[in-house]
Amino acid sequence: MHADEKFTYETWPAAPEKSTLESKNKFLGFWFFLGGETVLFASLFATYLALKDKVPSTTHHLAKDLFELPLTFVATMLLLTSSLTSVYAMYHMKNFAFKKMMVWLGLTALLGAGFLGLEVYEFTLYVHEGHTFTSSAFGSAFYTLVGFHGGHVAFGLLWCLTLMIRNSKRGLDLYNAPKFYVFSLYWHFIDVVWVFIFTVVYLMGMVG
Amino acid sequence: MKRLAKWRLISLFGILALVLSGCGEPYLSTLKPAGEVAETQYDLMKLSTLIMVGVIVIVAIIFVLILVRFKRKDDRIPKQVEGSHKLEIIWTAVPILLLLILAVPTVAATFKLADVSPMDKKNSKALVINVRSHLYWWDFEYPGQKIVTSQDLVVPTDEKVYFNLKSTDVKHSFWIPAVGGKLDTNTENVNKFWLEFDDKKSNEAGNLFYGKCAELCGPSHALMDFKVKAISRDKFDAWITAMQNVKEPQKAQGAVAAQGQEIFNQSCIGCHAVTPSNKMPETARLAPNLSNFGERSRVAGVLDHNKKELKNWIRNPETYKPGNMMTGKYPEMSEEQLDALAEYLMGLKAQE
């Protein structure tokens, strides 16, 4: 099977994301990349845990004085839902239903943008309360960990939009199917990271 | 013949270098342990070296046999051997045993050297010294005795001395090679350990051990030396009493020294204290305490202790300790002023 071959619903392979050597490589390579990303976030989490209540004075804000759980909860729901919509998109990709896939991808991007908007809003709230990147070690660690994740979401958003616009006219083939698939892997990954951030930073922060 | 002579010369030179230095200097070398800690560490060194020499000998024998026996002589193809389970089990099991022999005393010693429980006991009689490292000098505070000194650490022999280590600027590391080592002075937490100074060995080393900073800390890291006067408990007590008796800055003896004291009070006292009493918080102790400067063994930790070197140092500290914090903190001094200052400082003594 060649990458630039034209397909119909009948000839479309069962696993279009790994039906050529190139896409098999891409698939595996991306998993390894995510392995490296996991260690990256693990290091950031460890740093955050070491510094989460390290502030210069007793009057300085700590996690439990700051966090707005309802806000983060809504953000969490947006991101979790976007993971689900990306699953639907991949389902349609495997069924060679290009239009449907695009719709679900669009929804994914929309939800991701909503999440990002909430995060920016949340950060501005904290900054107004005096909890900034430079105010304490806790602040530095918080914005670095959560911001790294936010940066990943923003990159994923741009990636998703680029893929959608680039391929809007030409439909699915074995050259771009793995690209969509790898994007969805990435999107799941940042979703999983967020679940950990929500637990470790927000929930555990509220408990004490 | 000529070639042989050259080789003989080289090997002679090598052996000479080894023998001359032997085990190093008694006041500095880890191979001349002068206390319980260094002794423990030296024992571990000997044990590990012994085990390792055993391994080296075995490898060397096989190695030489290969060199002698299996050099290519013809074009034959040797038998292709896959391996040998028996041999492989042997050279897996034997090293594990050897490492166990080393691991057990290692773990025991690691816990022993970290045992600082007497420090925290209430009403403990243990001598505790707070070490504060600065860019490029050492501050020694005796909290129980309420005195502070710098650069020359004074300790009693034949008893455990406990240390609280912390740094005020960048990370350093506190090391007295002959007595045991070493522990870092971190910027964020206090590290604790103990040392013991053997009386007999101290005498052999001239009662003055060399101390070093072992962690890269800037340009003058190499020059961040200190000295340790290890003296008997009686002498130590006398020294403490003498230091405690210096309640106020000592009056200078003689006209020149008095002039020096005046200069000192104008230009130096902002950073350098001349009373050993411990009133200032440690962060305000910006420079070495000079209360007993006249009794110290070095100027600035590295220069000979005489007026000439002291004047050189004050004239231009940057030449002797690049990157130090003293340069430029005081006006330039004339020769006359330097003479007066040196006269005054050399007269600062707690004990007559």
Binding site: D4, L28, P56 | E25, L31, L183, N189, P219
Partner: protein, 623 residues
């Protein structure tokens, strides 16, 4: 193909190398760049030894000395040893598994250019206000205290080249898993390929902590964060952990490929298969695994407490076991063999006692309580030079001589090679053996000078004389390379005559598609098996057909250059320079713009047609 390349002008050749995605050409780029940085690092080493030859020397100032030691360490580890090892991985590994290229040729090129621009950025510090001076470990309190931009060059330069290494690691992993020739099972892979595999896995998991550490340091120094400032709650021990979680596996990232090269050399020149192949593989994997469990032995004196110190001490000792297995397997490979003492074999033989010495001092250092005495002294300096020079650098020299014909199609001079060996070998032991004793006698490391009267004088002089010998050895080697390249006597597929693995079954240098037909692998030492059966080459596993090859691209160069430009902007932005922010944005635009281009522009590669391959064969017959 190679004759065609020679006729091209300089400009065309340069453009060819700037845009190449061919693993063999990228290997040459790594070799040249790594070799260059090796010379730079070596020169720095010579300056160090001149300064320390006599007490109270003033050849260089204290501040400059710290810059030199920092750059010596950083250059040798990140910019010399790693790229040189990468050069051999790129040159040999795809050939050993019977692949036509790596899995991601584009990424391979990107990895090189990132490393290259990172290295250049780091070394530009010499001309732009001073090099980093906080040691190659760049401990946080000192790094934050360091004035000027030296440490910023370190942070940003390593960050850029680190990303290059990371993607290189992923590339090799996928290549080895997905692109092995028919019949090349995991347990038939040559040991160099195995070590490349494990090394790549180590890179994948070890570099992200360094990335994070460097990011935190960058935020502290350039953007006002407080990770390492205790007055605002920061903690410098975090840096130590992150650095060594990376730093210890890094040592194995360097030494495992060295083990791999020696595991190729011993069987070749003993004409005997590797003794205990499966236990060698097992030991390699085990060393890689344990490599992540022992980082805190670099921090025994940081004050982690006796429990942590004891655990890490025992874990560290455990590494001695698989390493010992390897040493004995190599010895037994030669035992009963027919050993030919070529230049690569000289290095391999010398490696055993040298590395053994480094290994046993490693076990001594693992004994935590005793390490309190060794830590940060010349004993440690001696130890890691025995391991890294006696292991990695010996392997690089051995590999250079062994694979030179495969990479360039011509043999390095054996006589000069042996002269290089003896000069370097003697110099090496003269320099570093005595340093064990200097450390035990009480000399801390990283000192710019020492006072007389401490018993250090004679030993330091001996050490400096040794360094001169090593320098001479390298000069002879350079001369060897030059005259060999000028003479350029072409050699055949298997110039050593005893090649065992697939790379020796194809021409030297191989055609750009490596294998006209993928070979069928029938067992370990695939080519040796065929030779023993009286065949001249490998049995093909497929009929002659079209070969799919990737297109060259200039984008990797652009992406790396963008980050290089952006780094200047990020660095000078703290000085309130008006141009700094725009420069940073332009640089990032170049990088992300190139990524965008790469993403939207379809690149299907091209096919070499069957007919053209036949033509080549005809040409080959005529020549």
């Amino acid at each position: 193909m190679s004759t065609y390349a020679q006729k091209k002008g300089f400009g065309a050749t340069l453009w060819d190398f700037l845009t190449t995605v061919d693993h063999k050409k990228i290997a040459i780029l790594y070799l040249i760049a790594g070799g260059f940085f090796f010379l730079v690092g070596g020169l720095e080493a010579v300056f160090i030894r001149i300064q320390l030859a006599v007490p109270n020397n003033d050849f260089v100032s204290a501040g400059l000395f710290n810059e030199i030691i920092t750059m010596h360490g950083t250059t040798m580890i990140f910019l010399a040893a790693m790229p040189l090892v990468f050069a051999f991985m790129n040159a040999v590994m795809p050939l050993q598994i019977g692949a036509r290229d790596v899995a991601f040729p584009f990424v391979n090129a990107l990895g090189f250019w990132l490393f290259f621009f990172g290295g250049i950025f780091l070394n530009l510090s010499w001309f732009l206000g001073g090099a980093p001076d906080a040691g190659w470990t760049s401990y946080a309190s000192l790094a934050l205290h360091s004035k000027g931009h030296g440490v910023d060059f370190y942070i940003l330069g390593l960050q850029i080249s680190g990303i290059g290494t990371l993607i290189g690691g992923i590339n090799f992993l996928v290549t080895i898993i997905n692109m092995r020739a028919p019949g090349m099972t995991y347990m038939r892979m040559p040991l160099f390929t195995w070590t490349t595999f494990v090394t790549s896995a180590l890179i994948l998991f070890a570099f992200p902590p360094l990335t994070v550490g460097l990011v935190l340091m960058m935020f502290d120094r350039l953007f006002g964060a407080n990770f390492f400032d205790p007055t605002l709650g920061g903690n410098t021990v975090i840096w130590e952990h992150l650095f060594w979680i990376f730093g210890h596996p890094e040592v194995y990232i360097l030494i495992l490929p060295a083990f791999g090269i020696f595991s190729e050399i011993f069987p070749i020149f003993s004409r005997k298969r590797l003794f205990g192949y499966s236990s060698m593989v097992f030991a390699t994997v085990l060393i890689g695994f344990l490599g992540f469990m022992v980082w805190a032995h670099h921090m025994f004196t940081t004050g982690l407490g006796p429990v942590a110190n004891a655990i890490f001490a025992v874990a560290t000792m455990a590494i001695g076991v698989p390493t010992g297995i390897k040493i004995f397997n190599w010895l037994l490979t030669m035992w009963g063999g027919s050993v030919k003492f070529t230049t690569p074999m000289h290095w391999a033989m010398a490696f055993i006692p040298s590395f053994l010495a480094g290994g046993v001092t490693g076990v001594m250092l693992a004994s935590a309580a005793a390490d309190y005495q060794y830590h940060d002294t010349y004993f440690v300096v001696a130890h890691f030079h025995y391991v890294i020079v006696g292991g990695v650098v010996f392997a690089v020299f051995a590999g250079t001589h062994l694979y030179w014909p495969k990479m360039f199609g011509t043999m390095l001079n054996e006589v000069l090679g042996k002269i290089t060996f003896w000069l370097f070998f003697i110099g090496f032991h003269l320099t570093f053996f005595i340093q064990h004793f200097l450390g035990l006698w009480g000399m801390p490391r990283r000192v710019f000078t020492y006072l007389p009267g401490q018993g250090f004088d004679a030993a330091n002089m001996v050490s400096s004389i040794g360094a001169a010998f090593m320098g001479l050895g390298v000069i002879v080697m350079l001369y060897n390379i030059i005259i060999t390249s000028v003479k350029n006597v072409k050699v055949g597929n298997d110039p050593w005559g005893d090649g065992r693995t697939l790379e020796w079954a194809i021409p030297s240098p191989p055609p750009f598609y490596n294998f006209k037909q993928l070979p069928l692998v029938r067992g370990l030492d695939a080519y040796w098996l065929e030779k023993m059966d009286g065949k001249k080459g490998m049995t093909p596993a497929e009929p002659l057909g079209d070969i799919h090859m990737p297109n060259s691209s200039f984008l990797p160069f652009m992406m790396a250059m963008g980050l290089f430009i952006a780094a200047f902007g990020a660095m000078y932005h703290v000085n309130d320079k008006a141009w700094a922010l725009p420069v940073m944005i332009i640089g990032l635009l170049v990088t992300f713009g190139s990524m965008f281009l790469r993403s939207v522009k379809d690149d299907h590669g091209f096919h070499i047609h069957k007919e053209d391959l036949m033509d080549e064969e005809d040409k080959g017959v005529k020549a």
